[in-house]
Structures are given as structure tokens and as C-alpha cells.
């Protein structure tokens, strides 16, 4: 096991008295002294700043067909207009998810791929082995820092510091610009369900940007604890919990991010799965109390186990427990009553649709 890594902002987190814990091989701030629920609320109402430097970035330079980029993912990179980005998957031959990621079309022949922290090494090796060598493929994670500024006031904050041009970026669109004198990418994406931005810039500049953004009273730091609540309330999957190498995008309810009109590794397995029918499917459910379901709790129906919870939490916005899970297909109908069990704890729940929380500022 590699040594646990620290982001360039580790000292800042310590100075802010963050609770720090390992996540994906990194020592990350889980929460600051105000607590997870206060940070969650701040993101839903104001603007929260997250250190996301642990995530990975790869740069691809070359012809998308000749180099092999076009066949890598479950979506067509060629069909992404320059200046836009797309979410999808890198799959194994069995159709399992090696990682979920976003590809940014920087130019005709330049693509940045943003991947999860824990999967950087495996993704880079896997992608490298599937490319032809006709293109350059580089892991730029160490040189690239990432901050997420998320919340209904995120746009106003960015405009205050960097001008009106950043105020008009549409959802899943980005702009290459200069921040603090350094080349940066400002992308209208995030993991919270709120209006927000992912800011990519050179690692040596990130402490300056972090400090600058926090001079605005509307901005407060938020840790990975609140980030997990925020993403779950809008039903986003977490790699390693809701999706993994033995779960296909079809089983995980993410088939809208799979383009069957193109070629990619894992496609045959997915087509077979479609033809044979799914043995397990994703569900979302609400608990009838404030009790929180948690990862690996059993999902039961009439005393029999029918599935497993993959993510769960108490939702501050809904005031009840919420969760995602994998169940047998006959249990997936909206409104199905289920029971969540773990040791002596039992909670009644109902299958529902996503997102749990619908009032977010995401597209405003």
C-alpha cells in the first residue's frame, strides 16, 4: 500500500481545525468545526469550497481515432464539442465499471480526463494499455489542482473575483482562462446538485486561490462528509460504493451514459445483459424515520433479503433517511415497500425515484 498522500492544502485544513481522515489513499478534510450538516446547508444556500486536489487528471493529445481515445469510454469523445464535457464510464470486458469519469474536449485533438482519486493508477494503466501509441497520454494529476466552488452564490463569487465572462458558462461547459496569472479551466460541473464550478489550475497556485475565495463572506470551506450527503440527495453514484468493477452501468441505473451506437470495451457484455435481462437493478428509497441506512445493510421484503444498500444517509433536506441499493428486479417498482435491516435495527422504507432533493440551483 502506498503512503497516504496529502493535498497542497493540508496545512490550510489543519489551520482550520478540520477533522482529517483517509479517503482513497489521501488524508482529506472530512469536516471543519462547524460540522457536516452546517457545511451541507451552506452549500445548498450560499457557496461551499471543497479541496478536490486528490482527484486525477489525464491529458490526451493526438487524433481521437488513430490514438484510440474514441473507443475508450461509453460515450463518444468525438461528439463532444470543443469547450464541453461529458460524464461516462471506463468498463472492463465484463461490463463492470473500472471508473466513472468526465472527459473535457479541450481542442480537436486534446482531451482532459478527470477520474476518481483511488483509481488513478489503475485507470492510467488500463487506458494506456488500450491506446495505440499514436497519441500522447500523460498523468497530469500532480501538477493539476482542483477546487470545487458549489452553491447558489458560486457564480456571483466567481464574477466578483474574475469578471463577468465566467458568469455565463452553461452547465457541462467550461472555459480555458487565466486565474491569478496562471492557465486555468473553469468548468460548470460538480457533485452537489447546486449551481457550481470545478476550478482546475496549476498546483503551485491553489493555496492562493483557496485563500482568495475564502475572503468572501459567502464562501465557507466544506469537507468530504458534506460532499457525500450533497451528492446522495441528488442521487449521484459514488465509485466504490454504488458502482464498481462487478456492477455494470445498466445494473446501476446509469444506461443513459452509455452510447450503444459506438464501440467500447464491455459493450458485448452489456448487450448480452440487456438481452438476458438484469439480475439486479439499482433502487432509491426513503426511510419512514430519521434513521439512516448505511452501506452494506440488507434490503428485505417479507422477511427475505432482496438486495443490499450501497449508499445511505440522513437527508437534512428531506428530514428522513435516504439510500441507494441494488435489488432483484421485481422489487424496483416505485412505491414498493421494503425493509432495511442490520443486526437489531429495522427500518421501513419505500422505493422512490431520483433525485431525492429537487430544489437545487444546478441549472439556474
Amino acid at each position: 500500500m502506498d503512503q497516504v498522500k496529502r493535498t497542497p492544502l493540508f496545512q490550510e485544513h489543519e489551520a482550520l481545525q478540520a477533522l482529517i481522515a483517509p479517503f482513497g489513499g489521501w488524508e482529506m478534510p472530512i469536516q471543519y468545526p462547524t460540522g457536516i450538516i452546517a457545511e451541507h446547508r451552506w452549500c445548498r444556500e450560499q457557496a461551499a469550497l471543497f479541496d478536490i486536489c486528490h482527484m486525477g487528471e489525464f491529458l490526451y493529445e493526438g487524433d481521437l481515432d488513430a490514438g484510440g481515445m474514441e473507443g475508450l469510454f461509453t460515450f463518444s469523445v468525438k461528439s463532444i464539442p470543443v469547450g464541453r464535457s461529458r460524464y461516462g464510464f471506463l468498463l472492463n470486458k465484463e461490463g463492470g465499471v473500472i471508473d466513472d469519469l468526465i472527459a473535457f474536449r479541450l481542442a480537436e485533438e486534446r482531451v482532459m480526463v478527470v477520474v476518481n482519486a483511488a483509481t488513478i493508477a489503475n485507470d492510467f494503466a488500463t487506458i494506456g494499455s488500450r491506446l495505440t501509441g499514436a497519441a500522447a497520454f500523460t498523468d497530469i494529476s500532480a501538477a493539476t489542482a482542483k477546487l470545487d466552488l458549489q452553491g447558489p452564490l458560486a457564480r456571483a463569487v466567481l464574477v466578483r473575483f474574475f469578471g463577468d465572462a465566467l458568469g455565463s458558462i452553461p452547465y457541462f461547459t467550461f472555459t480555458e482562462c487565466t486565474l491569478l496569472g496562471a492557465p486555468a479551466i473553469v468548468s460548470r460541473t460538480g457533485y452537489t446538485g447546486e449551481l457550481g464550478y470545478e476550478l482546475f489550475l496549476p498546483t503551485e497556485k491553489v493555496r492562493e486561490l483557496w485563500a482568495l475565495l475564502l475572503t468572501d463572506d459567502r464562501v465557507r470551506p466544506a469537507g468530504l462528509g458534506s460532499r457525500d450527503l450533497l451528492r446522495l440527495e441528488v442521487g449521484y453514484s459514488l465509485y466504490g460504493s454504488d458502482i464498481d468493477a462487478v456492477t455494470t452501468p445498466l445494473e446501476a441505473g446509469l444506461s443513459s451514459f452509455v452510447n450503444f451506437s459506438k464501440e467500447f470495451i464491455g459493450k458485448e457484455a452489456l448487450l448480452r445483459q440487456k438481452e438476458e435481462g438484469l439480475k439486479q437493478v439499482k433502487v432509491a428509497f426513503k426511510v419512514a424515520s430519521r434513521r439512516a441506512p448505511r452501506h452494506h445493510y440488507d434490503i428485505c421484503f417479507e422477511g427475505e433479503q432482496v438486495g443490499t444498500v450501497t449508499s445511505g444517509a440522513f437527508s437534512p433536506m428531506l428530514g428522513c433517511g435516504i439510500g441507494l441499493g441494488i435489488v432483484t428486479p421485481e422489487m424496483a417498482a416505485i412505491g414498493s415497500p421494503i425493509t432495511i435491516r442490520h443486526e437489531r435495527v429495522t427500518m421501513e422504507a419505500t422505493v422512490c425515484d431520483l433525485p431525492f432533493y429537487r430544489e437545487g440551483s444546478l441549472r439556474k
Binding site: 457536516i36 462528509g225 434513521r291 439512516a292 448505511r294 440522513f314
Partner: protein, 124 residues
């Protein structure tokens, strides 16, 4: 009135022959934002160190153990709607239940405030 503590971070405080119980300031801080409290059934008899309630926070679910044997004679309903009181006032407003103790000799199995602080200090 002396407050006694368990190794599992519950507190108990005697008044007029009955005992208020809750979780310590330290425990509440460790749990983080409390989101749910499972109260014991009124009238239930519990044994010392037997699980009798549960507290969930954003981060974790924890069982709560009875500091003394006895009968539950009152529960704090407020915690059902407002579990955040556990973070705001763990050793006062967020009492979980009142017990009618059946054996006060059991107090010797608990720690005094000073002993608890020493015990807790060793955990940091």
C-alpha cells in the same frame, strides 16, 4: 450532585433517588452531528451496561448502554424531533431517560468526573 460515567461514555446523575442518563460531551463531539435518537420504551427494565438506546450521527450509528440497572420511568421525547440537542447540550438538556435504579451499589462500577477525564485523556 455527582455525575458518574461509563467507559462507553454514558453519564448518570442521581436526584431524589432517581437517575438521569445521557451521553458525555466527549461522546457527542466524537459522533458529530446527531441525526436520530432511539429512545428506550417507558417502563422497560434494563440491566447495567445493557444496550437500551441508540444514537445516530451523520457519520455513525452507536448503541447506548444503561449506566445502572433499573426501570425506565421517563424518556426525553424532545430528542425524537430535535436530536441536535445532543450536540448542543449533551450533559444537560439532552438527557435520554430517567431510571429508577434497582441497585445503587453499581455506582462503584462507574467513574467519577475526575476519573472519567483521566480515562478520556488517555484516549487522545
Amino acid at each position: 450532585m455527582e455525575t458518574y460515567f461509563t467507559k462507553e461514555h454514558e453519564w448518570v446523575r442521581m436526584k431524589d433517588g432517581v437517575a438521569a442518563v445521557g451521553i458525555s460531551d466527549f461522546a457527542a463531539h466524537q459522533l458529530g452531528d446527531v441525526t436520530f435518537v432511539e429512545l428506550p420504551p417507558l417502563g422497560k427494565s434494563v440491566k447495567q451496561f445493557e444496550q437500551f438506546a441508540a444514537i445516530e450521527s451523520v457519520k455513525a450509528a452507536s448503541d447506548i448502554y444503561a449506566p445502572l440497572s433499573g426501570k425506565i420511568i421517563k424518556i426525553n421525547d424532545l430528542l425524537e424531533e430535535s436530536p441536535e440537542i445532543v450536540n448542543e447540550s449533551p450533559e444537560d438538556a439532552a438527557w435520554i431517560a430517567w431510571l429508577e435504579p434497582s441497585n445503587l451499589d453499581e455506582l462503584k462500577n462507574l467513574m467519577t468526573q475526575a476519573q472519567y477525564e483521566e480515562f478520556r485523556g488517555g484516549m487522545e
